[in-house]
Amino acid sequence: DVKVTQSSRYLVKRTGEKVFLECVQDMDHENMFWYRQDPGLGLRLIYFSYDVKMKEKGDIPEGYSVSREKKERFSLILESASTNQTSMYLCASSAPTGGIYEQYFGPGTRLTVT
């Protein structure tokens, strides 16, 4: 079974703090993704990475950065957390199986910025 783990299920941070969210996958997948999930808005892509040290902006990259130094690990960084970044953050990974890129999701980190 593919396993995607995230460093914390719940996190509370103060405005202005630097926040690191970590994601690890154990299936040697090339592609990794960070989404944020808000009610009524579904999942919105923040960044994705298709290889070590390679990254692409998603739909809502403002206020975030990412790091991928090893294939299995993809980190999301909030340089200076703000209250509008309070959300559920989901990490996912994928690799082609028969041309199909099924995404496997982690359990999510619920971040509250006060």
Binding site: G40, L41, G42, L43, R44, Y50, D59, Y101, Q103, P107
Partner: protein, 112 residues
């Protein structure tokens, strides 16, 4: 631009049928369907590719109308275990590969 899902929420009795629609303004290469149960991660259900056939798994099936850029998910004789939020994710025709754009989700509740 996100695909639009409808309805936003639906409540069913066990055994009833439901249809969830996903509509995009862009030409699509594929449509993915995921289900997320409360407090859990989204789980892949199925993918429909451009030029492909209608897919099905048990009593859940889906169709993809390429000309209309629409997909529909059909849940037949719903079970309590079908409850959750369903998301469609689309891959645009000019971006075939990895990037999915998800809809806002449809909350499905199945009552006994």
């Amino acid at each position: 631009q996100q695909p639009v899902q409808s309805p936003q929420a639906v409540i069913l009795r066990e055994g009833e049928d439901a249809v969830i629609n996903c509509s995009s303004s862009k030409a699509l290469y594929s449509v993915h369907w995921y289900r997320q149960k409360h407090g859990e991660a989204p789980v892949f259900l199925m993918i429909l590719l451009k030029g492909g056939e209608q897919k099905g798994h048990d009593k859940i099936s889906a169709s993809f109308n390429e000309k209309k850029q629409q997909s529909s998910l059909y849940l037949t004789a719903s079970q309590l275990s079908y409850s959750g939020t369903y998301f469609c994710g689309t891959v645009n025709d000019n971006n075939a590969g990895n990037m999915l754009t998800f809809g806002g989700g449809t909350r499905l509740m199945v009552k006994p």
